[in-house]
């Protein structure tokens, strides 16, 4: 009976369990979970604050998930080392576990740059885990003034989550625009405007110069009082275990299409990894939930002796605030052409290069965008489809009758 | 006014009975009369009759015409007509026994005739056809003559009354036949006319029938295309014509004729051998209008044998008994047990399955 060990208990780990079980019904699976919660998806923590979900519903899988999959979870433990030669891991309590196949789903950790006086702030929080969210929930009151450092996905979702619970929210970021990693200036401006209309204040293009208790002074001189500080500057992949074991690591753990690390029988999946983005043909840490699952599943299948690859990863994000959504995917490579359509409530930007759709940004109108996403993912030559119609509206009808015959008259 | 027989179609329920010696032994009419007694309630006194085969050995080469005349003038007219076509060999009263149960008797004559060769040559027909034509003509014309039997070496005896009375009336114990059939009638609507009683005969074919056929008008309108006139509007009459048409005119075998009259279902034909499938399909294709539907059990008497046939759903009772050289057929087993008290072998033929009994070759 094979021994599988999965370090971490996030979505990648869940994918890994399901991947293993799709091939091997027998092998023993052990999951080492630092958090004392069954698997949940990190992005839900803001919805928790927003009351769109609760601790029970946040569970990524049903209550009997581990039981059904015959997986043992060791809660509240971390792995302190991997011995790749002995093929065993050592837990923080000194216990060891042998493995035939190991998967690192260690995720990422908040990255907090050094800021002067930060230690003087009492109410400061990260926003990564349920526990962070629960702590934040306790800390805020309807009179709270919240300062969020970071106008990225995490920071803004946190802002949305806290919005109805507090008096005032200010988000600051060094970048000159919100969601700078996924939106360009024009799109970011529309999103920022929408956020502002919902009562979120922004201080952009500058960073905190100095904290002093509940007071901050920005580099540009702006000064602000707050009650609660949320640090959402960024994350870093948790690569140490693999790196220490001698594995190949850059910004993330380097994995191939089969989610193998450079070490024998050691796989990695999820936010801790860096992998190939086919839309930009670069390797990067994408830290995206769908990809994490797919990587985990791929790793699981391969660990169990099956064959699977995840070779069409692209960055993509679906995010919305106060009912206003944006979908982005892929990249805007240099020299790409942009097709744009916009009015005051929506923007559509499609990026085309070398007869391929490489990326898009959509704000406001989110109807059937998966059809665009598939074009990127499948690298569909645009000359083979009716892109003129497709640009106007995502529709199967522009993809040719042979394609829709396959899709609609058969099983896909 | 109640319409006369022939003016209206008269459905009726009935009793039938028959006995035949395969060895050709001749038997008097006692037992066949007795066989009708236990089936008394199947008749209502409005018709009974018998057919007997082999009763005129000394006149076997002549057509024995049994004729009812309403009166002397009808008789004279009819005899004059007959003389145009036939040589009259013998013209006599049929002897009867006067009895209170049988009343309103017509003049009943037996005339043995021989077709005139010159007539046959002139009309370019055979003698049987001549007999049929003349008989049809006499019977179709309402002049008061009715030929109720016209075969060779056979004869029908019928009257209004219960069959057992009719048998005694005609003194059938004095006739000796190798084959007897009998009929008791339960018409639902008739003034009681002697000619309407069964058997119905044409040439040596005689039919006794129990049932009411639903295909009547389809059969009638078809058969009338071929020179037959269904003057009586009875099932028995049309069945007799069908038998004559199929057996004599078309030359079908008894089995083939049975497969027309009580055709096997298509579903049954499907299951048969290729040769049979072809044969039965052919017969049903060629003679669809002669399929007889509705309940019937018939006994067709002919020269040298008889055939009993039920409708293909067997909607009427009919049982057959066999003992030594004898075969008995009747609507009810009780009738057979009267004729053959210690009989063992009695069965009920399936619907549409003909029971054909032939007398040994040369024995009659």
């Amino acid at each position: 009976m094979k021994q599988y060990v999965i370090i971490g208990n996030g979505v990648a780990a869940a994918g890994c369990i399901e991947g293993i079980r799709s091939v091997d019904a027998e092998g023993r699976i052990t999951v080492i979970s630092a958090e004392k919660h069954p698997v949940y998806c990190r992005p839900l923590i803001s919805y928790y604050l927003e009351n769109k979900t609760d601790l029970q519903r946040m569970h990524y899988r049903g209550d009997s998930f581990y039981q059904d999959n015959h997986a043992e979870v060791i809660y509240g433990r971390t792995v302190s080392a991997i011995d790749k030669d002995a093929k065993q891991v050592t837990l923080d309590n000194g216990d060891t576990l042998s493995y035939d196949a190991l998967c690192c789903c260690t995720g990422s950790s908040p990255f907090v740059p050094p800021m002067q006086g930060l230690e003087t702030v009492q109410n400061k929080f990260n926003f990564m885990t349920i526990d962070d969210s629960l702590a934040l929930e306790q800390a805020v009151t309807p009179e709270s003034k919240v300062l969020i450092i970071g106008a990225g996905l995490i920071g803004l979702k946190c802002a949305e989550g806290l919005h109805s619970r507090v008096k005032q929210i200010t988000v600051c970021d060094l970048a000159p625009r919100v969601l700078s990693s996924i939106l360009d200036d024009k799109c970011a401006a529309m999103m920022q405007k929408h956020l502002e209309q919902n009562g979120i204040s922004f201080i952009l293009g500058t960073s905190a110069k100095e904290f002093s208790g509940n007071h901050v002074t920005m580099q540009n001189g702006t000064a602000l009082d707050f009650d609660v500080l949320v640090l959402a500057v960024g994350v870093r992949a948790n690569t140490a275990l693999v790196k220490d074991a001698g594995g190949n690591v850059n910004r993330g753990i380097v994995v191939d299409d089969a989610c193998r690390t450079s070490l024998a029988d050691i796989y990695a999946a999820g936010d801790c990894t860096e992998y190939h983005d086919i839309s930009s043909d670069t390797v990067k840490v994408m830290a995206l939930m769908p990809n994490a699952y797919m990587q985990g599943h791929t790793a699981g299948v391969n660990m169990a002796g099956g064959e699977a690859v995840f070779d069409n990863a692209i960055p993509m994000n679906s995010i919305g605030f106060f009912g206003f959504h944006c979908h982005t995917a892929g990249a805007q490579p240099e020299g790409c052409e942009m097709y744009e359509e916009s009015d005051e409530n929506h923007i559509k930007r499609l990026f085309v290069k070398d007869d391929r759709l490489t990326g898009f940004m959509l704000l406001g109108h989110m109807h059937r965008t998966g059809i665009y996403t598939a074009l990127i993912r499948n690298k569909t030559p645009l000359s083979s489809v009716d892109f003129d119609r497709l640009r106007i509206e995502p529709q199967l009808s522009a993809l040719g009758s042979a394609y829709r015959d396959k899709v609609l008259k058969g099983a896909v | 006014m109640i319409p006369l027989e022939g003016q209206v179609r008269i459905p009726s329920g009935c009793a039938v009975s028959a006995m035949i010696s395969r060895d050709g032994r001749r038997m008097n009419g006692e037992r066949i009369i007795e066989s009708m007694v236990p089936m008394h309630d199947r008749s209502n006194g409005l018709g009974g009759g018998f057919a007997a085969y082999g009763i005129y050995p000394e006149y076997k080469d002549f057509y024995a015409l049994h004729i009812f005349f309403n009166n002397r003038s009808a008789q004279a007219e009819c005899m004059a007509l007959l003389k145009e076509y036939f040589e009259i060999v013998q013209d006599e009263h049929i002897k009867v026994r006067k009895m209170p149960q049988i009343t309103d008797e017509p003049i009943i004559r037996r005339v043995f005739v021989s077709p005139m060769q010159s007539v046959l040559r002139h009309l370019q027909i055979d003698e049987k056809e001549l007999v049929v034509r003349v008989v049809n003509r006499i019977n179709a014309e309402p002049v008061g003559s009715y030929v109720f039997s016209c075969g060779k070496n056979m004869g029908a005896f019928k009257a209004v009354g219960f069959p057992e009375d009719v048998g005694r009336y005609y003194r059938l114990e004095e006739y000796e036949a190798y084959c007897w059939t009998a009929h008791g009638r339960y018409p639902t609507n008739t003034p009681g006319w002697w000619g309407g009683a069964h058997p119905f005969c044409l040439l040596d074919y005689s039919i006794v029938h129990n049932g009411e056929i639903s295909s009547y008008d389809a059969n009638r309108r078809f058969i009338e295309m071929y020179g037959y006139k269904c003057t009586l509007q009875t099932d028995t009459e049309v069945i007799t014509y069908i038998a004559d048409y199929l057996l004599r005119r078309q030359g079908l075998t008894l089995d083939e004729a049975a497969a027309v009259i009580a055709a096997p279902f298509w579903s049954t034909i499907e299951g048969k051998s290729d040769a049979d499938k072809e044969k039965y399909t052919y017969l049903r294709t060629v003679f669809p209008s002669l399929l007889v539907t509705g309940p019937f059990s018939i006994i067709l008497g002919f020269d040298g044998g008889l055939m009993a046939l039920n409708d293909r759903l067997k909607l009427r009772s009919m049982v057959v008994g066999e003992q030594d050289d004898m075969v008995y057929i009747a609507s009810e087993e009780a009738a057979i047990r009267v004729m053959a008290p210690d009989i063992q072998n009695i069965w009920s033929p399936a619907g549409g399955e003909p029971v054909i009994v032939r007398v040994k070759e040369g024995a009659f």
Partner: protein, 147 residues
């Protein structure tokens, strides 16, 4: 298992499937009450190609459903060949809309995602689009090609 197949050669573009879908999933017993004066959010969409050919598109219940793999809330799952959505878990992130290659997952008008569940969760019993199609352009049958 039974699946929905689309026969575009018989689609009349009447859009009744969309209305029947919206009604079937409205939870109401009267179509007028359910749909009159309202914008409908059907789980099936009639498309028309450049030649005027129309056809309806709804969830294909894929063998390898990327929506299920992408759902951040674990609200989407595949059970007995049917991809279901647990509306109580859905937080309305619309990642499923972003990933469905057929555009078959859509927003329901209230912010959460919805998709065809073959009318297994409503009182219709079998897909309303199929039952209501006047020309047999949408069929629900077992062709043995589904998982």
């Amino acid at each position: 298992m039974k699946r929905i197949y689309v026969k575009e050669e018989w689609c009349l573009g009447c859009h009744l499937c969309e209305y029947n879908c919206a009604f079937a999933n409205s939870g109401m017993t009267d179509m007028v009450k359910a749909l009159r004066g309202k914008t409908i959010y059907p789980r099936i969409q009639v498309e028309q190609d450049e030649n005027g050919v129309t056809y309806a598109v709804s969830c294909r219940h894929c063998k390898d459903p990327i929506c299920v793999k992408s759902c951040i809330a674990g609200a989407l799952s595949k059970k007995d060949g049917v991809i279901e959505i647990d509306h109580s878990k859905c937080v309305g992130c619309l990642t499923c809309v972003l990933v469905c290659p057929y555009g078959a997952v859509v927003e329901d008008g209230s912010g959460v995602a919805q998709k065809c569940e073959l009318c297994m969760k409503n009182t219709c019993g079998s897909p309303a689009c199929v039952k209501g199609c006047p020309n047999g352009a949408i069929v629900y049958e077992d062709r043995g090609d589904a998982e």
